[in-house]
Symmetry: C2
Subunit: 197 residues, 2 copies
Protein backbone atom coordinates (compact mmCIF):
# COMPACT_ATOMS: atom_id res chain seq x y z
CA UNK A 1 0.00 0.00 0.00
CA UNK A 2 2.94 2.30 0.56
CA UNK A 3 3.63 2.88 -3.07
CA UNK A 4 5.96 5.10 -4.94
CA UNK A 5 5.24 8.78 -4.18
CA UNK A 6 4.85 8.11 -0.44
CA UNK A 7 7.87 5.80 -0.17
CA UNK A 8 9.96 8.18 -2.24
CA UNK A 9 9.04 11.08 0.05
CA UNK A 10 9.78 9.05 3.19
CA UNK A 11 13.16 8.06 1.73
CA UNK A 12 14.10 11.68 0.98
CA UNK A 13 12.96 12.96 4.38
CA UNK A 14 14.75 10.21 6.29
CA UNK A 15 18.04 11.35 4.75
CA UNK A 16 17.83 14.66 6.63
CA UNK A 17 19.94 14.86 9.78
CA UNK A 18 17.85 14.13 12.88
CA UNK A 19 15.11 12.21 11.06
CA UNK A 20 15.14 8.42 10.98
CA UNK A 21 12.93 6.27 8.82
CA UNK A 22 10.30 5.94 11.52
CA UNK A 23 9.98 9.65 12.25
CA UNK A 24 10.03 10.43 8.52
CA UNK A 25 7.07 8.07 8.11
CA UNK A 26 5.18 9.73 10.96
CA UNK A 27 5.88 13.16 9.52
CA UNK A 28 4.65 12.11 6.07
CA UNK A 29 1.48 10.58 7.48
CA UNK A 30 0.76 13.72 9.48
CA UNK A 31 1.18 15.83 6.37
CA UNK A 32 -0.96 13.49 4.25
CA UNK A 33 -3.87 14.12 6.61
CA UNK A 34 -3.87 17.70 5.32
CA UNK A 35 -1.96 17.92 2.02
CA UNK A 36 -3.15 21.41 1.11
CA UNK A 37 -2.45 22.84 4.55
CA UNK A 38 0.79 21.05 5.42
CA UNK A 39 2.43 19.48 2.38
CA UNK A 40 2.11 22.12 -0.33
CA UNK A 41 3.23 25.00 1.94
CA UNK A 42 6.37 23.02 2.81
CA UNK A 43 7.01 22.26 -0.87
CA UNK A 44 6.62 25.97 -1.66
CA UNK A 45 8.88 27.02 1.22
CA UNK A 46 11.60 24.61 0.04
CA UNK A 47 11.41 25.93 -3.49
CA UNK A 48 11.38 29.57 -2.32
CA UNK A 49 14.43 29.02 -0.13
CA UNK A 50 16.29 27.13 -2.87
CA UNK A 51 15.54 29.94 -5.33
CA UNK A 52 16.29 32.84 -2.99
CA UNK A 53 19.28 31.75 -0.93
CA UNK A 54 22.83 32.27 -2.20
CA UNK A 55 26.28 32.48 -0.60
CA UNK A 56 27.47 35.96 0.34
CA UNK A 57 30.26 36.98 -2.03
CA UNK A 58 32.10 38.71 0.84
CA UNK A 59 31.93 36.38 3.84
CA UNK A 60 30.39 33.12 2.59
CA UNK A 61 27.24 33.31 4.77
CA UNK A 62 23.99 32.07 3.22
CA UNK A 63 21.39 34.76 2.69
CA UNK A 64 18.83 35.99 0.16
CA UNK A 65 21.07 38.92 -0.77
CA UNK A 66 24.76 39.16 -1.53
CA UNK A 67 26.56 40.83 0.25
CA UNK A 68 24.54 39.37 3.13
CA UNK A 69 22.68 41.43 5.71
CA UNK A 70 25.54 41.13 8.20
CA UNK A 71 28.08 42.45 5.67
CA UNK A 72 25.67 45.30 4.79
CA UNK A 73 24.91 46.23 8.41
CA UNK A 74 26.51 49.66 9.13
CA UNK A 75 26.51 48.91 12.88
CA UNK A 76 28.88 45.98 12.46
CA UNK A 77 32.53 46.58 13.29
CA UNK A 78 34.44 46.04 10.03
CA UNK A 79 37.79 46.02 11.86
CA UNK A 80 36.84 42.77 13.56
CA UNK A 81 36.36 39.48 11.69
CA UNK A 82 35.35 36.14 13.15
CA UNK A 83 36.57 33.13 11.15
CA UNK A 84 34.32 30.04 11.22
CA UNK A 85 34.40 26.65 9.57
CA UNK A 86 30.87 26.81 8.18
CA UNK A 87 27.56 28.67 8.07
CA UNK A 88 26.11 26.58 10.92
CA UNK A 89 28.78 28.00 13.25
CA UNK A 90 28.11 31.54 12.04
CA UNK A 91 24.40 31.13 12.83
CA UNK A 92 25.19 29.65 16.23
CA UNK A 93 27.37 32.67 17.09
CA UNK A 94 24.65 35.05 15.91
CA UNK A 95 22.17 33.35 18.23
CA UNK A 96 24.59 33.95 21.10
CA UNK A 97 24.44 37.74 20.36
CA UNK A 98 28.07 38.36 21.39
CA UNK A 99 29.92 39.24 18.21
CA UNK A 100 29.42 42.72 16.76
CA UNK A 101 31.97 42.40 13.97
CA UNK A 102 31.83 40.57 10.63
CA UNK A 103 32.40 36.92 9.70
CA UNK A 104 34.43 34.88 7.31
CA UNK A 105 33.34 31.35 6.40
CA UNK A 106 36.33 29.11 5.54
CA UNK A 107 34.17 26.41 4.01
CA UNK A 108 35.95 23.61 5.87
CA UNK A 109 39.10 22.83 7.85
CA UNK A 110 42.57 21.74 6.85
CA UNK A 111 42.67 17.96 6.96
CA UNK A 112 45.57 15.73 6.03
CA UNK A 113 43.32 12.65 6.09
CA UNK A 114 40.43 14.31 4.24
CA UNK A 115 42.86 15.76 1.70
CA UNK A 116 41.75 19.35 2.33
CA UNK A 117 44.55 21.83 1.70
CA UNK A 118 44.74 25.64 2.09
CA UNK A 119 43.71 26.15 -1.53
CA UNK A 120 40.39 24.36 -0.81
CA UNK A 121 39.45 26.92 1.84
CA UNK A 122 38.56 30.62 1.58
CA UNK A 123 41.93 31.81 2.93
CA UNK A 124 43.18 34.11 0.15
CA UNK A 125 39.89 36.09 0.20
CA UNK A 126 40.26 36.39 3.99
CA UNK A 127 43.77 37.85 3.67
CA UNK A 128 42.53 40.26 1.02
CA UNK A 129 39.62 41.40 3.22
CA UNK A 130 41.96 41.99 6.17
CA UNK A 131 44.23 44.12 4.04
CA UNK A 132 41.51 46.03 2.17
CA UNK A 133 39.60 46.92 5.35
CA UNK A 134 42.61 47.58 7.60
CA UNK A 135 41.26 45.02 10.05
CA UNK A 136 42.55 44.96 13.62
CA UNK A 137 41.53 41.59 15.02
CA UNK A 138 40.85 38.12 13.68
CA UNK A 139 38.89 35.84 16.02
CA UNK A 140 39.37 32.17 15.16
CA UNK A 141 36.12 30.48 16.18
CA UNK A 142 37.15 27.01 15.06
CA UNK A 143 36.20 23.69 16.65
CA UNK A 144 38.46 22.20 19.35
CA UNK A 145 39.43 19.23 17.20
CA UNK A 146 42.72 18.19 15.60
CA UNK A 147 41.70 19.69 12.25
CA UNK A 148 40.45 22.84 13.99
CA UNK A 149 43.77 23.27 15.83
CA UNK A 150 45.75 22.57 12.65
CA UNK A 151 43.74 25.18 10.78
CA UNK A 152 44.13 27.75 13.60
CA UNK A 153 47.87 27.14 13.62
CA UNK A 154 48.17 27.51 9.87
CA UNK A 155 46.10 30.71 9.84
CA UNK A 156 48.14 32.22 12.68
CA UNK A 157 51.31 31.64 10.64
CA UNK A 158 49.77 33.13 7.51
CA UNK A 159 48.45 36.15 9.43
CA UNK A 160 51.67 36.93 11.36
CA UNK A 161 53.21 39.11 8.57
CA UNK A 162 50.11 41.35 8.54
CA UNK A 163 50.63 42.26 12.22
CA UNK A 164 46.89 41.77 12.95
CA UNK A 165 45.86 40.55 16.42
CA UNK A 166 44.81 36.91 16.28
CA UNK A 167 42.60 35.55 19.06
CA UNK A 168 40.71 32.32 19.54
CA UNK A 169 37.65 31.33 21.59
CA UNK A 170 38.42 30.59 25.24
CA UNK A 171 38.75 27.03 26.40
CA UNK A 172 35.27 26.12 27.41
CA UNK A 173 34.37 24.69 24.05
CA UNK A 174 34.27 20.95 24.81
CA UNK A 175 37.12 18.97 23.25
CA UNK A 176 35.86 17.24 20.12
CA UNK A 177 32.61 19.19 20.21
CA UNK A 178 31.03 20.94 17.27
CA UNK A 179 30.24 24.64 17.73
CA UNK A 180 26.72 24.55 16.39
CA UNK A 181 25.39 22.13 19.00
CA UNK A 182 26.69 24.15 21.98
CA UNK A 183 24.20 25.99 24.17
CA UNK A 184 24.16 29.74 23.58
CA UNK A 185 25.38 30.62 27.09
CA UNK A 186 28.55 28.52 26.88
CA UNK A 187 29.23 29.83 23.43
CA UNK A 188 28.81 33.44 24.55
CA UNK A 189 31.09 32.90 27.56
CA UNK A 190 33.81 31.28 25.45
CA UNK A 191 33.51 34.10 22.96
CA UNK A 192 33.88 36.84 25.60
CA UNK A 193 36.89 35.11 27.23
CA UNK A 194 38.80 34.72 23.95
CA UNK A 195 42.55 35.15 24.30
CA UNK A 196 45.53 35.86 22.03
CA UNK A 197 47.15 32.87 20.33
CA UNK B 1 21.03 37.04 8.67
CA UNK B 2 18.43 34.31 9.00
CA UNK B 3 15.80 36.10 7.01
CA UNK B 4 12.41 35.21 5.79
CA UNK B 5 12.56 32.23 3.40
CA UNK B 6 15.01 30.35 5.62
CA UNK B 7 13.22 31.13 8.89
CA UNK B 8 9.87 30.30 7.31
CA UNK B 9 11.19 26.93 6.13
CA UNK B 10 12.71 26.15 9.54
CA UNK B 11 9.41 27.04 11.22
CA UNK B 12 7.41 24.73 8.91
CA UNK B 13 9.87 21.85 9.27
CA UNK B 14 10.06 22.15 13.06
CA UNK B 15 6.29 21.60 13.23
CA UNK B 16 6.71 18.04 11.93
CA UNK B 17 6.61 15.33 14.59
CA UNK B 18 10.12 14.30 15.62
CA UNK B 19 11.84 17.48 14.46
CA UNK B 20 12.63 20.24 16.93
CA UNK B 21 13.79 23.72 16.03
CA UNK B 22 17.44 22.77 16.30
CA UNK B 23 17.25 19.71 14.08
CA UNK B 24 15.04 21.60 11.59
CA UNK B 25 17.77 24.24 11.37
CA UNK B 26 20.45 21.60 10.80
CA UNK B 27 18.33 19.94 8.13
CA UNK B 28 17.75 23.25 6.33
CA UNK B 29 21.45 24.14 6.42
CA UNK B 30 22.37 20.75 5.04
CA UNK B 31 19.87 21.18 2.20
CA UNK B 32 21.05 24.74 1.48
CA UNK B 33 24.52 23.39 0.77
CA UNK B 34 23.02 21.68 -2.27
CA UNK B 35 19.66 23.26 -3.16
CA UNK B 36 19.35 21.62 -6.59
CA UNK B 37 20.29 18.17 -5.33
CA UNK B 38 18.52 18.15 -1.97
CA UNK B 39 15.93 20.89 -1.67
CA UNK B 40 14.14 20.88 -5.02
CA UNK B 41 13.77 17.06 -5.13
CA UNK B 42 12.12 17.18 -1.70
CA UNK B 43 9.83 20.00 -2.82
CA UNK B 44 8.88 17.95 -5.89
CA UNK B 45 8.31 14.79 -3.84
CA UNK B 46 6.02 16.66 -1.44
CA UNK B 47 4.00 18.09 -4.30
CA UNK B 48 3.82 14.73 -6.09
CA UNK B 49 2.61 12.98 -2.94
CA UNK B 50 0.08 15.72 -2.18
CA UNK B 51 -1.26 15.49 -5.73
CA UNK B 52 -1.31 11.70 -5.99
CA UNK B 53 -2.41 10.45 -2.60
CA UNK B 54 -6.09 10.13 -1.72
CA UNK B 55 -8.13 8.20 0.85
CA UNK B 56 -9.44 4.81 -0.27
CA UNK B 57 -13.22 5.03 -0.71
CA UNK B 58 -13.61 1.50 0.67
CA UNK B 59 -11.34 1.23 3.71
CA UNK B 60 -9.95 4.73 4.35
CA UNK B 61 -6.29 3.82 3.69
CA UNK B 62 -4.15 6.45 1.95
CA UNK B 63 -2.95 5.43 -1.51
CA UNK B 64 -2.49 6.76 -5.02
CA UNK B 65 -5.51 4.81 -6.23
CA UNK B 66 -8.99 4.34 -4.82
CA UNK B 67 -9.92 1.60 -4.01
CA UNK B 68 -6.41 1.15 -2.58
CA UNK B 69 -4.01 -1.63 -3.57
CA UNK B 70 -4.96 -3.68 -0.50
CA UNK B 71 -8.67 -3.51 -1.35
CA UNK B 72 -7.85 -4.46 -4.98
CA UNK B 73 -5.54 -7.34 -4.06
CA UNK B 74 -7.28 -10.64 -5.07
CA UNK B 75 -5.12 -12.57 -2.58
CA UNK B 76 -6.56 -10.70 0.39
CA UNK B 77 -9.25 -12.48 2.41
CA UNK B 78 -12.40 -10.37 2.05
CA UNK B 79 -14.15 -12.27 4.84
CA UNK B 80 -11.70 -10.86 7.37
CA UNK B 81 -11.50 -7.16 8.25
CA UNK B 82 -9.11 -5.50 10.66
CA UNK B 83 -10.45 -2.29 12.22
CA UNK B 84 -7.86 0.38 13.06
CA UNK B 85 -7.99 3.89 14.45
CA UNK B 86 -5.86 5.47 11.71
CA UNK B 87 -3.70 4.91 8.67
CA UNK B 88 -0.49 4.85 10.76
CA UNK B 89 -1.78 1.72 12.51
CA UNK B 90 -2.72 0.11 9.20
CA UNK B 91 0.82 0.70 7.88
CA UNK B 92 2.33 -0.65 11.09
CA UNK B 93 0.29 -3.87 10.74
CA UNK B 94 1.30 -4.19 7.08
CA UNK B 95 4.96 -3.95 8.09
CA UNK B 96 4.39 -6.82 10.54
CA UNK B 97 3.22 -9.02 7.59
CA UNK B 98 0.64 -10.93 9.68
CA UNK B 99 -2.75 -9.88 8.41
CA UNK B 100 -3.95 -11.33 5.11
CA UNK B 101 -7.43 -9.79 5.19
CA UNK B 102 -8.65 -6.26 4.53
CA UNK B 103 -8.74 -3.15 6.74
CA UNK B 104 -11.17 -0.54 7.90
CA UNK B 105 -9.93 2.83 9.14
CA UNK B 106 -12.28 4.36 11.75
CA UNK B 107 -10.68 7.78 11.53
CA UNK B 108 -10.48 8.17 15.32
CA UNK B 109 -11.78 6.74 18.57
CA UNK B 110 -14.88 7.42 20.63
CA UNK B 111 -13.98 10.04 23.20
CA UNK B 112 -16.28 11.64 25.74
CA UNK B 113 -13.68 14.28 26.57
CA UNK B 114 -12.71 14.93 22.96
CA UNK B 115 -16.38 15.06 21.93
CA UNK B 116 -16.01 12.29 19.33
CA UNK B 117 -19.24 10.32 18.88
CA UNK B 118 -20.09 7.28 16.72
CA UNK B 119 -21.30 9.53 13.90
CA UNK B 120 -17.80 11.05 13.64
CA UNK B 121 -16.24 7.67 12.89
CA UNK B 122 -16.53 5.39 9.85
CA UNK B 123 -18.84 2.91 11.61
CA UNK B 124 -21.89 2.81 9.31
CA UNK B 125 -19.66 2.07 6.27
CA UNK B 126 -18.03 -0.72 8.29
CA UNK B 127 -21.41 -2.32 9.06
CA UNK B 128 -22.37 -2.05 5.39
CA UNK B 129 -19.09 -3.65 4.25
CA UNK B 130 -19.57 -6.53 6.70
CA UNK B 131 -23.07 -7.17 5.39
CA UNK B 132 -22.29 -6.71 1.68
CA UNK B 133 -19.26 -9.04 1.76
CA UNK B 134 -20.69 -11.64 4.13
CA UNK B 135 -17.69 -11.14 6.39
CA UNK B 136 -16.82 -13.73 9.03
CA UNK B 137 -14.45 -12.01 11.43
CA UNK B 138 -13.77 -8.48 12.62
CA UNK B 139 -10.40 -7.95 14.30
CA UNK B 140 -10.39 -4.86 16.50
CA UNK B 141 -6.77 -3.58 16.39
CA UNK B 142 -7.38 -0.59 18.64
CA UNK B 143 -4.97 0.96 21.14
CA UNK B 144 -4.99 -0.25 24.75
CA UNK B 145 -6.22 3.10 26.07
CA UNK B 146 -9.50 4.18 27.68
CA UNK B 147 -10.81 5.52 24.37
CA UNK B 148 -9.62 2.38 22.55
CA UNK B 149 -11.44 0.14 25.03
CA UNK B 150 -14.58 2.30 24.88
CA UNK B 151 -14.58 2.10 21.09
CA UNK B 152 -14.00 -1.68 21.11
CA UNK B 153 -16.89 -2.08 23.56
CA UNK B 154 -19.21 0.05 21.47
CA UNK B 155 -18.30 -1.77 18.25
CA UNK B 156 -18.82 -5.18 19.88
CA UNK B 157 -22.34 -4.11 20.89
CA UNK B 158 -23.11 -2.78 17.42
CA UNK B 159 -21.74 -5.92 15.75
CA UNK B 160 -23.49 -8.46 18.00
CA UNK B 161 -26.75 -8.54 15.93
CA UNK B 162 -24.80 -9.44 12.78
CA UNK B 163 -23.46 -12.63 14.40
CA UNK B 164 -19.96 -11.95 13.11
CA UNK B 165 -16.98 -13.14 15.19
CA UNK B 166 -15.31 -10.18 16.93
CA UNK B 167 -11.73 -10.55 18.12
CA UNK B 168 -9.18 -8.13 19.46
CA UNK B 169 -5.38 -8.10 19.53
CA UNK B 170 -3.88 -10.17 22.37
CA UNK B 171 -2.66 -8.47 25.49
CA UNK B 172 0.93 -7.67 24.76
CA UNK B 173 0.21 -4.23 23.43
CA UNK B 174 1.61 -2.03 26.21
CA UNK B 175 -1.04 -0.16 28.20
CA UNK B 176 -1.25 3.42 26.99
CA UNK B 177 0.96 2.63 24.01
CA UNK B 178 0.25 3.68 20.44
CA UNK B 179 0.23 0.88 17.86
CA UNK B 180 2.41 2.58 15.31
CA UNK B 181 5.47 2.88 17.57
CA UNK B 182 5.51 -0.82 18.53
CA UNK B 183 8.27 -3.03 17.16
CA UNK B 184 7.07 -5.32 14.37
CA UNK B 185 7.71 -8.53 16.32
CA UNK B 186 5.54 -7.58 19.30
CA UNK B 187 2.84 -6.38 16.96
CA UNK B 188 2.90 -9.62 14.97
CA UNK B 189 2.78 -11.72 18.17
CA UNK B 190 -0.16 -9.76 19.56
CA UNK B 191 -1.91 -10.09 16.22
CA UNK B 192 -1.48 -13.88 16.06
CA UNK B 193 -2.64 -14.38 19.67
CA UNK B 194 -5.83 -12.34 19.20
CA UNK B 195 -8.82 -13.69 21.13
CA UNK B 196 -12.62 -13.34 21.09
CA UNK B 197 -14.14 -10.43 23.01
Amino acid sequence: MQNDPIEHLIALLSRLPGLGRRSARRAVLKMLMDPAGKMLPLADALRAAADAVRPCEVCGNLDTVSPCLICRDPHRDRKLVCVVEGVADLWALERAHTHHGTYHVLGGLLSALGGTGPEDLSITPLLRRIEDNGMEEVILALPATVDGATTAHYLTDRLKPTGIAVTRLAQGVPIGGALDVLDDGTLAAAFKARRPL
